[in-house]
Symmetry: C2
Subunit: 486 residues, 2 copies
């Protein structure tokens, strides 16, 4: 699919040691190790590959492997096969270390050299920062210590989100990284980019002739991008209080969806060309109106302040100020405690006054890209109702990728880890993407700080505050909430 | 759907007596009476409605009704309900009469007046000619005799196909009709026009914004229109010997499909505007190459000549010589003893050289309109193959109208009879449509007569003679034979 990677496809990943900071954390247990198991299952790992996880607790390798085996059983998309697991666990190591102390990195490097040697990884390293964000800068700093210098073909760093909490902190972190790694070796995770349907957006747009001619303000009336959850903040109160919906979802995931939908056709399939086009759109974003919300009961959640002004919902209207999109509103929303869990992009086409039939009797022409939990493409158009009467009804065509029996889509992390090993940056955020999205979001947050919100302002199980509806009714539009599994 | 008919929808058909010539024939038994039963079932018949069928055999009304009850049981799309049948049969009459003798029409009219009176039909009449085509002119002549003149709101004639066997005979028949009825009262049956998906073509094209922008030579590479049967000539040898595939299928059904696909948007939904546009396309048709075929064993069929040169297969390439379609080949084929029974229109889009992905690895963008036996729309496009590899695969979206449980599409004849009663001519062929299609077909037949064909030239269960493939390979194209139920 991407020309730049065609070689990589046959290499089963490059030789390397994957060093995971945060070996005992949730991400490692639920996502990273199961993803590695899936890659092992599909023979996508190099023979010259090892994993070292770093944590502060006491474990023998054997104890640690046993614990991860249980996690893999629970979270892998395959049922656990003993011999596959053996193959993975034989190159899976636990290293107890206080990674906040720079002095410990000589010891770490000596340990890694043993592993590198044992598995003939060429001392290539991937450092995966699966720790709380406050440690990011510190670890990156330590990684550039003289102790860590070894000859190698590559040395990459993977930074989990959030990448900063505003433009200032993101810039600070990025400067730390720039001191230690080149941009080409920096992989900023936005796991949404690893999702099947996000990767599919470019293919659908640019590998078919019949979408692109319609993909502009002449034919598209509006676009709605929603990512909603039914759950609340659950056990993540501490993290969420510092983040809120705008940092947790909008700055990262939602803007990635938006840029994939709106970007111009890149010159080629190289990561640089693709990310160049994505950044262009972020630069052209014009903010119109923003609505924030907090569900009833949020302030009573664990580790949440009694008077918290953290938003659990955000909806906004943006425009992309270029020739293709001038005048097309993009409505974006994300919230917790919504009536339905789903991430989807709804493209609503114009009702042309040039149609033969009375448009007041016609339903909308819709193209819906379903990201999760359902994956697929859904198409609504008008057809004749079967029968002797002259009725027109909306009919649907549905390509449901994960409805097909036997389809077991790879997890986002599986794809992303594979790409780090192959050195493909396409599905990772480049610094300027992060930079421009923080600029946009900072501007909104600055205004919010000056105004006390009337929180809570929506009931759980509703589509957010009334103002979110008004945002669209002002334009004579409304949110399109698809029913059922559509 | 059609503005001109909105009133008609609420009228349950207009008051009238339907006079069927050929009361004991197959069409009446298998199609017309079951269609009337279905209309009765759906309360689509006026209270002031009666049916008189005319035949030469001896029947009492009661005997005749009993026989038709059995036919209706077999051929109605509903299971027979006694009280519904009662309601229909109480206004169903049999009249023994030699309709070839003009002198008998005074007697006929007197009989009809009694029925008109009994059922208060306002002496409105529909004359349905469900007899062999050689009787058409004769009956129409007799219908204009003084005896038949009665005051009424309307008097319509329905002519079954074939409407002539060439331009000359069609013109002769039409002149007879013109002497007796206005064009507005003449309903030339092409039962394909009554099929759900043919009616749907206009709705799909002109009630949606996203098809029409792609509906031209910029985006469409070629169109294939196929109507294939697996059966041979069966018991219809006598009829078929005089007709062949070109008269039986091409001149009528296939050209209707072609004109609905290619027509420009009519000014409005009036029958006149629609038929004006359909005729324009027929005038712009340019014939390129034609291939005829006859299956092995045809000459051994019952009532077929040992040295028959009747074609059971025809394939041709035509172009529509206007701005929209210049350069787009339309490949049309119809045949008996083919591998699959299906009528479908395959629209194949260009492989743009402007795509981001290497077009040699991409499948075709297809839009398929399935007419029968499956009814629906099928859409093929390229998407990312789920997985960590960079693969693009074709995926399908399918709107299958008659796959849905509980959908029981009306029969073509049900729709057409209903429309005659309502006075809606949209789904009937106007004289100039017939005229131009005969002109086109006559031209082909003239050439055929001069050249002895090498018949038989295809095996049963194949896609016709090798020349039918060559017709497309010349253009570097090939027939698209969809698999399975697609």
């Amino acid at each position: 699919m991407r020309k730049s990677n065609e070689k990589g496809d046959n290499m089963n990943g490059n030789s390397c040691t994957l060093v995971i900071f945060g070996g005992t954390g949730d991400l490692t247990h639920r996502k990273l190790i199961p993803a590695l198991y899936n890659l092992e299952h599909d023979s996508n790992l190099s023979e010259n590959f090892a994993v070292v996880t770093i944590g502060r607790r006491d474990y023998t390798d054997q104890e640690y492997r046993e614990e991860l085996k249980q996690s893999t059983k629970s979270f892998s998309r395959f049922s656990l096969n003993e011999s596959t697991w053996e193959k993975l666990q034989n190159r899976l190591y636990y290293k107890k270390l206080d990674f906040t102390n720079k002095d410990n990195y000589c010891e770490l490097n000596n340990y890694l050299l043993t592993i590198d040697n044992l598995h003939q990884t060429g001392s290539n390293r991937i450092y995966y920062l699966a720790v709380a964000p406050e440690y990011f800068a510190n670890i990156v700093d330590s990684l550039r210590s003289d102790c860590m210098k070894v000859p190698h073909a590559f040395e990459r760093v993977v930074i989990e989100k959030p990448f900063g909490r505003d433009l200032e902190s993101a810039t600070f972190l990025n400067n730390k990284i720039v001191n230690a790694f080149t941009e080409a070796n920096t992989y900023r995770i936005d796991h949404y980019l690893g999702k099947e349907m996000l990767q599919n957006i470019m293919v659908i747009r640019f590998a078919n002739i019949f979408f692109e001619p319609l993909w502009n303000n002449k034919y598209i009336e509006q676009v709605q991008i929603s990512s909603n959850e039914t759950i609340g903040v659950e056990t993540r109160g501490e993290y969420y209080e510092k983040s809120g919906a705008i940092r947790d979802m909008l700055q990262s995931h939602m803007f990635q969806l938006l840029s994939l939908i709106t970007m111009e056709k890149p010159n080629d399939l190289s990561p640089t060309s693709i990310r160049d086009e994505k950044v262009k759109v972020l630069k052209e974003l014009k903010n119109k109106n923003v609505v924030r919300g907090q569900y009833e009961g949020y302030r009573q959640e664990k580790r949440v302040a009694d008077d918290s002004n953290t938003e659990t919902f955000v909806a906004l209207k943006v425009e992309v100020d270029n020739q293709r999109w001038k005048g097309v509103p993009f409505y974006i929303r994300t919230g917790k405690k919504m009536p339905k869990k789903s991430t989807e992009i709804v493209i609503k086409f114009n009702k042309s006054d040039n149609l033969l039939y009375d448009s007041t009797h016609l339903s909308d022409n819709l193209l819906v890209i379903k990201v999760q939990p359902m994956e697929g493409v859904f198409f609504q158009f008008n057809a004749k109702k079967p029968g002797t009467q002259h009725k027109i009804i909306p009919v649907q065509m549905d390509f449901c990728q994960n409805c097909q029996v036997g389809i077991n889509s790879p997890e986002a992390y599986e794809r992303l880890l594979f790409d780090v090993m192959r050195g493909d940056q396409t599905l990772f955020a480049r610094w300027d993407e992060v930079e421009y999205s923080w600029k946009f979001v900072d501007h909104i947050i600055e205004k919010w700080i000056k105004e006390e919100p009337h929180f809570p302002n929506y009931k759980t199980g509703t589509w957010g505050p009334i103002e979110a509806d008004e945002l669209l009714t002002e334009d004579n539009h409304e949110w399109i909430n698809l029913e059922g599994d559509l």
